[in-house]
Symmetry: C2
């Protein structure tokens, strides 16, 4: 460890110690758990022993909030650093959604410990946690928290507010913006904002609230995350009640969850288009990252070989005019680029809900027209360049013609591939780039070398 | 117009008419303005005359909310459909942030009308709107709204709540989750959630609220949007107070703005990496879209020609062994793909704040190691394939060696290019893909054909 690191280490330990002290004396921290988590991550980078000691020193209630902010990988290996007893204590002071994630992460490394933690909860909480863990990653339920503020419709507003006070005192709820109203059997009726509630008379019942003051957007726990994002962004919601199959209120998704969902799904999309797996990239092991990338490189190798086979069909042509070998990557590269432009716009607009199924034909026509015009433009440019370079007018004609053909096919397939994948219920971001460049490579090489064989020889 | 469209048209007009009627009778709409905006957009697609008539029929107060949900392009051309008087009425019932956007959009098409609308406001509102319009697109101020609920610290909680009731009755505020507390000169002190406020005694003063119940995250109106996103996502905030240079509270950014910011910046990033301009893509004119894409295609043409010049240097080598022309795109394509994987992960993680400047060296080393390992793997595979295909052992060796060289350089430049762009304060997403594939093409062709010249001839 160099001098700079030692100095940084001392500083970090000092800061963290004073934050722990502050928490212990006030049972309140002016520093946000996120900031502590960032400091701990730095400490972990510099000196794992000190990091381990520090984790032991942080009180469970604080560590619960801090750990909730930390990456999955840190949660997975937490049992290397602190005792099972402390892990159980931490889990029980987490919000249900954080606790479920935490247990799930622990089970990646240590299934037994995860089970032990679950068993430490009473039957009711255990059932809730098991339910939360059972949701798949792309279901609304996976992001919901069960802590919320609800009231029966025959309850008085004043009584509910008293209950909120109690709930807040024991630290059970946080970030409450609405009171969710349910009927006798727990069925969801509607939500009223605290900004309305604070104004109403306390002896009024919830059922007396005029219906235009209620909001009743809700989502099923099994709904796709895409629907969650669509609903909250279209209707500008700060939180969304989650109901089960029988319309009973079981949780809510809050704006901070939505931030994560939007960020994560954008990352997934960007990564998928580049042939990268977002989950594998979060691993610490380079072997895991490299392996997942190798799969797509392998697919790319196959498609590159397909393009080479096309070139191989024209080896005699190339032999008699090497200029063809010099120019042919230009046609393929321009096609790949134009196609990627179309593909990216189509995939993204589908994800944002701006292209619906009924717009498919319109999208394809639009993209083909744009690529036709750009194809003609660049056909002219490259035709002249090729002619000036090799002094062969017909070579200029051949490359110009193949440029138009390849750019049109780039626009067409750039739109058709993702639209078709979506129709087949396949994520249009995954693998579409590889499929597309296969097409533009094959069409590019075949049209250029084929036309050269016909016209030049 | 075909029969299906006529039927759809009639349906849409009927639905919209009944929604207008409902709004007029109750002065309240159970349908969200977003849904009406979607119906109007469909109507606009089918029959522009009917769309125009419908706009005239919708009351200004409702149209203000509906238009706020509609795309820029629709706002730009609104003066083709409704009178200036109605446009002025609409603008005055919008939230300030929506009004500022609306006026800005109108000014794209009709500077004079925009000015006329501005002049219709009283001096104070006009000043606020002009201030909002003056922010650049990537500043926090551009996304803030000035409508909020604030109180002086010497005010009684009960008085503030009464004021909230009045504000809500005249429809001045909405989505209120906090009361923002200011000092004598309007300086921002802190915010208290309504969930706390609803519990406190009404005769308590704001200055009596214990400090641990206050939150004091805030952001400068001139701050970069990236900082806004970082703050709200790290600290899980549903709204963020915005202050001016003198720490005076001037507005707030709410969760629905943050959804837009996150979505828009992800779209911008995905588009930029593919050589597409996100603003141009929103235009309706294919000419505008095509032109902006042509710029990047032009840059790509230059880089493709650079790669061709490299190939041209080895024309004699290719002439004597055409197999080289057949195989050379494989090396370039694999390099381009591996480099794009690295580039994408690096650009995205920088955007999410997961790679800081101090991590640059670590990132580069990690990426080079991963590409070295994958390079060795695919060198072996392609070496054997090339040998079996052309029965030339040395050709297998040459392609294997150049594969390793090109994949290492892909990993290295895939990380170095965005990191360097960021250091130079250039958006690392813009143009980095083109820069990268230039490198992988040139290195791929040069190493493969160069080694072939040395070893095979």
């Amino acid at each position: 460890m160099n001098e700079k690191n030692i100095e940084q280490l001392d500083q970090l330990v000092e800061i963290l110690n004073s934050e722990i002290l502050e928490f212990k004396t006030d049972n309140n921290n002016s520093v946000h758990p996120y900031d502590i988590s960032e400091q701990l991550l730095k400490l972990r980078d510099i000196d794992e022993d000190e990091y381990s000691k520090m984790l032991k020193r942080i009180p469970s209630a604080l560590l619960a909030e801090v750990l909730s902010e930390m990456p999955d990988i840190v949660q997975e290996e937490i049992s290397d650093h602190i005792s099972t007893k402390k892990i159980v204590a931490i889990t029980s002071s987490m919000d249900t959604d954080d606790a479920a994630d935490f247990i799930q992460n622990i089970s990646e490394d240590n299934e037994e410990l995860a089970q032990e933690i679950l068993e430490s909860f009473d039957d009711q909480d255990k059932e809730v946690l098991e339910q939360l863990i059972s949701y798949s990653d792309d279901e609304a339920g996976a992001y919901m928290q069960t802590e919320l503020f609800s009231a029966r419709d025959d309850e008085k507003i004043g009584d509910a507010i008293k209950r909120l006070k109690d709930l807040k005192e024991i630290g059970e709820v946080d970030n409450i913006w609405h009171c969710h109203i349910t009927g006798k059997r727990g069925e969801y009726i509607g939500s009223v904002g605290l900004e309305e509630l604070i104004i109403f008379e306390h002896d009024m019942k919830f059922s007396d609230i005029p219906s235009e003051k209620l909001r009743n957007y809700k989502i099923s726990h099994k709904a796709d995350l895409k629907d969650v994002v669509e609903m909250v962004t279209n209707y500008n919601l700060s939180s969304l009640p989650v109901v089960d199959n029988r319309n009973r209120l079981i949780g809510r998704i809050t704006s901070d969850d939505v931030y994560d969902i939007i960020q994560d799904s954008a990352t997934e999309q960007i990564y998928n288009m580049a042939g990268v797996n977002d989950e594998a990239e979060q691993e610490e092991s380079m072997y895991q990252i490299g392996k997942s990338r190798a799969i797509w490189l392998g697919v790319n190798l196959l498609t590159a070989i397909a393009a080479s086979i096309v070139i191989g069909m024209f080896d005699a042509t190339i032999q008699s005019l090497v200029a063809l070998a010099v120019l042919m990557p230009i046609v393929a590269s321009m096609g790949g680029n134009a196609g990627t432009q179309t593909l990216t716009v189509t995939v993204r607009q589908m994800a944002l809900g701006d292209i619906e199924n009924e717009d498919a034909k319109k999208t394809i026509i639009k993209e083909v027209i744009i690529s036709l015009v750009n194809g003609l433009l660049f056909a002219g440019v490259i035709g002249v360049i090729a002619y000036l370079w090799f002094k062969l007018p017909l070579l200029g004609l051949v490359i110009a013609m193949s440029m138009v053909i390849n750019l049109i096919s780039a626009g067409f397939f750039g739109a058709v591939i993702p639209l078709t994948l979506q129709k087949l219920k396949i994520d249009p971001a995954i693998g579409s780039t590889v499929l597309l460049t296969t097409v533009t490579d094959v069409v590019g090489f075949f049209s250029f070398l084929g036309l050269a064989t016909l016209i030049l020889l």
